[in-house]
Symmetry: C2
Subunit: 472 residues, 2 copies
């Protein structure tokens, strides 16, 4: 441990007490690796403030002693953005104790939640107020509002409601100079200069520590319908989405699943069953919801899918007949990554291209990867309606244990090159963190890299905010 | 003219020709003052690029010779943000020749328009494609896409569709280092670091020159209904809005008008008539629209207003029976500022507070201003549903010609203090420009001022982008 870190921890202990300053290695240990267990860090202490004022104290100490902080929420990120560096030079800043929901207003359609509020808790609080916070994702039981905001998280309902950037009405954050940016005022219109709120969303804790967020609520769901379809190609899937969108405003989830992924889920995940008879090259999972209790959303979706079948867009469809079946359909989608891991080594790529280009991209890219790296299996699943696919490449069955580090890196560069050539993004929703930083540096235009570095340097000249993350 | 400016103009003339480099004072003159004629600037030349490449050339020359540029669109801004400094030290950069609509896609619901495209032209192009660009405001016949984006413009349809920040899908801009930021790719999800798009929106040309914008389109209007109501107070008006919003999703315009403002319009604007019999302390103008040709929007609005009258929320209402009457209702709202100017000297304050607080704020603030400055008349009109009111203070009838500069400044500070104490914004939609810069410096928290300056310095270290604007 550096002398500076020792002095910071002593000072913080004196000012904030043992509840905030945690030095027991057993308590810190579980938070030092990313949740996929791929990146391991070290930290001499974990600071766990309970209020914005305590965050201010901590940031001022970090500036005084020049010891960087690594903000962390639920530690469910996909890019190791909340994992401290391995040399122990930074201190973990756990935001999980700031877990108060300050207010929920159905009238204003806004909830104000502290950074450490878990997404599922926010869902419950909104529901109790007769409202809904629409963003959701697999980690909802542990991911936090601060982490979701700092990574501009997406998930399965982006199609209708957008990413966090669309759902955040304001941010409260402690900036690197110890000042508090208060964007929670609830102003619908405010043109007093650059939007610091928007700059902090997706900044992965590199420009300040988000302490609370004002979140937009939407009317509660009064009815939902979930369906599974079988169809011939990603192009047919996009045709189906456009067909539905032209006829209803109620579609909020639309996930693409290849037969290959479904097979793995059925093989590895207990209690799963195929939703349709027979095999189909591709599948979609569709969720429609309505805030209107008198609207028969299941009947509407059924009629639309029958019409789509008549037109030859889909080959087969099944409507979940109850909530249990709806959840079973979603489980088939949500356990794909888990099933892949059970099968063997897998490389994940969270990519986007323009929506209309995704079907062709998906088919072409899979063929090119399989040709260039014989034996691997490439396929994509996920948020087709957002132009965002999780493009995964599985190792050949005979791959050696070191495949991930060896061939893996070359495959990722190959995929990222294809995405960049298609005008797409090498990180659609997972962010850059540590894991994609080198690729961002390799592929982003120099002007953009210069701008990112300049903004970082301007707002965090001492480099105390999550060093080594996001900025190439 | 400085030597540097002379050399820049020579160089630009050689590289880009006389179409781009305009030095005839008669051609430049009309663009040197803000449209309200309050601020007058000077410029040795007006550069009028026709392409992004030409803007790159110009920005590089500006950097080389350290001569600042003042980007300008339709010159309809309310804060003199596009007016060059009076000492002639900067060069006007007219974006009006970049007026191509690059594409309109009903499928993707996006139009890509160059910075100089006039809003009304964009409206027409969207309509031809069977779609609609929903943002609109009084200056639609001359304001441009670049100016609207650079000022994060609002207008009368923000209630349903948000400000430009919600409607911009991506920005193309030339940054101060001459690099081109290309955000027009049409990616729905992209988490590759800080959002430069969001930073450029509302930056008033101080961080770069916006050259083109991808704009979200919505389905075309198939039917609209416009109504005028008379009611007792701003609180009743907000109650009416909440009553309507709980029962329909079709309200997109909701404007508050005091009797006092209506009286001025009827007095000064030819051809105007009162929409209701008798007098009412307050009025609202309501616009409901539907994209569904089979939906009888007029009948729906009529039924809702009848129910509101029954509940005692409103005292009277009139539904426009045809398009001409609808336009006549809107004219009563749109000519308030014009009528005020005809009446005498008026101070305009474009302010916002949280929506729920606006009724009380409006009543209190008007009383306090009239008490502190005997003889003046204070009243507010505008976008109640956004918490954004144009709070105007008219000089006493006996006010001397210099009132605006003398008492006016003290009144504005008095109003801005009230707004700040209420947690509001001294610029809801008009921006900071030159005119509100001193007040922003006086009232913004030091941490925020520091952040704005740091970002400006980081991205525009040579200070060549619209100096003296926005950043305190």
């Amino acid at each position: 441990m550096s002398d500076a870190a020792t002095r910071l921890i002593e000072q913080a202990g004196r000012k904030l007490g043992p509840k905030v300053v945690i030095t027991d290695p057993n308590e810190i240990e579980p938070w030092l690796s990313d949740w996929r267990g791929r990146v391991h860090g070290a930290s001499p202490a974990m600071l766990a403030p309970g209020s914005t004022e305590e965050v201010v104290e901590i940031v001022k100490l970090a500036a005084e002693y020049r010891v960087p902080l690594v903000p962390q929420g639920g530690n469910t990120g996909m890019a190791a953005g909340a994992t401290p560096p391995a040399d122990g030079s930074a201190i973990l800043l756990s935001m999980r104790r700031m877990n108060r929901i300050r207010s929920v207003s159905a009238d204003n359609r806004v909830a104000i939640a502290e950074a450490g509020v878990v997404l599922a808790t926010l869902h419950d609080a909104a529901q109790e107020a007769g409202m809904r916070f629409p963003l959701t994702l697999g980690a909802r039981g542990s991911c936090t509002v601060g982490g979701l905001t700092s990574t501009n998280a997406g998930g399965t309902q982006v199609l209708k409601f957008g990413t966090m950037r669309s759902l955040v009405a304001g941010v409260e954050a402690v900036l690197p100079d110890g000042s508090v940016h208060s964007g929670l005022g609830g102003l619908k219109k405010d043109n007093r200069g650059y939007s610091l709120d928007q700059l902090l969303i997706g900044a992965e804790g590199t420009l300040g520590v988000i302490t609370a967020v004002a979140l937009r609520l939407v009317p509660a769901i009064a009815g939902r319908a979930v369906a599974w379809t079988g169809l011939g190609s990603p192009a047919k899937a996009l045709e189906l989405l456009r067909f539905l969108e032209a006829r209803t405003t109620h579609i909020e989830g639309f996930e693409l699943v290849p037969q290959d992924s479904l097979d793995l889920v059925l093989k590895h995940v207990p209690g799963t069953r195929p939703p349709l008879e027979g095999r189909h090259a591709w599948h979609t999972l569709i969720e429609a919801t309505t805030p209107d209790a008198e609207h028969d959303i299941a009947a509407e979706l059924e009629t639309l899918l029958a019409a789509a079948m008549e037109r030859g867009i889909i080959d087969d469809a099944a409507l979940a007949s109850n909530e249990a079946q709806a959840e079973a359909f979603w489980k088939l989608r949500d356990t794909i990554s888990e099933a892949e891991r059970a099968e063997g080594q897998t490389l994940a790529h969270d990519i986007s291209v323009p929506v209309a280009d995704m079907p062709a991209f998906l088919t072409d890219a899979a063929a090119k990867v399989e040709q260039a790296f014989p034996g691997v299996i490439a396929s994509g699943f996920g948020h087709l309606g957002d132009g965002n696919i999780h493009f995964h490449v599985r190792a050949a069955s005979h791959a050696a244990p070191g495949w991930y580090e060896n061939e893996g890196e070359r495959i990722t560069e190959f995929v990222d090159d294809l995405v960049t050539a298609a005008g797409g993004s090498i990180s659609a929703e997972h962010g850059i963190g540590q894991l994609k930083r080198a690729e961002l540096a390799r592929l982003a235009p120099p002007g953009r890299i210069h701008a990112l570095r300049a903004i970082k340097q301007a707002l965090d000249p001492l480099g105390i905010m999550n060093p080594g993350k996001l900025v190439p």
